[in-house]
């Protein structure tokens, strides 16, 4: 039952931030791991872009992401949530967002992921702007 949130400068690393609960009885209940990565596409509204630039209003962005993760964790009875988000420039083809969910079963992980991202896009003060070529 744990939550980790990190907003960091630039593109995310290709390896996800590891954050598996170390308590053995909990770990043994993990039956599903679901990882979503958001990647900057090379076009925005049909125009070629070089990068997206993300602006986060801190500390509200981190606080809101953490509250959202805790709320989703409890609501869907998940085991762990790890959220990584970029700020600043992320080039086309690079990762800007990663959400990893550990749970007992698949269904709650999928439902939680969908709800998390919908609510993030509504409530978390992070803005993006396209940097055209």
């Amino acid at each position: 039952m744990s939550v980790l949130v990190r907003i960091s400068q630039g593109a995310l690393l290709s390896d996800r931030l590891r954050h598996i609960p170390s308590v053995a009885p909990v770990l043994q209940q993990v039956g599903a791991t679901l990882v979503f990565e958001g990647i900057v596409r090379a076009t925005e509204l049909g125009r070629a872009i070089r990068a997206l630039s993300y602006e986060a209003y801190e500390p509200m962005a981190s606080n809101t992401l953490t509250e959202l993760a805790r709320d989703i964790l409890c609501k869907h009875a998940l085991i762990a949530i790890t959220v990584e988000h970029s700020r600043g420039e992320v080039a086309a083809g690079e990762r800007s967002f990663r959400l990893a969910i550990e749970s007992a079963h698949r269904k709650e992980a999928l439902a939680a992921m969908d709800e998390f991202i919908d609510r993030m896009k509504r409530d978390v003060p992070i803005w993006k702007s396209a940097i055209y070529i």
């Binding site: 209003y57 509200m60 991202i117 993030m120 896009k121 409530d123 978390v124 803005w127």
Partner: protein
């Protein structure tokens, strides 16, 4: 009192500024801040009237009081991910 409302993203680009400065009474609430923003930008009054405001980094209800040293931010058009 003077309140500086921080703005971000496409709104900041469109207005070419990082904040909107307004005047409200000493006993103002969040709702009064929305009214003052709408009055300052009559062409987008409906948007500013209902825009979500955060006070000191948390979303605030319309009837919450606003103090002169609070950090007020307009949180709309977000889109992380």
């Amino acid at each position: 009192m003077t309140i500086r409302v921080l703005i971000f993203g496409s709104l900041a680009r469109e207005l070419s500024c990082k904040d909107i400065v307004i005047e409200v009474s000493e006993s103002a609430t969040v709702s009064d801040v929305n009214h003052a923003l709408a009055a300052k930008h009559p062409l987008n009054a409906a948007f500013f009237q209902s825009a979500r405001l955060a006070v000191n980094h948390a979303f605030a209800a319309p009837n919450s009081p606003v103090q002169h040293d609070d950090e007020v931010a307009l949180i709309e058009f977000v889109g992380g991910g």
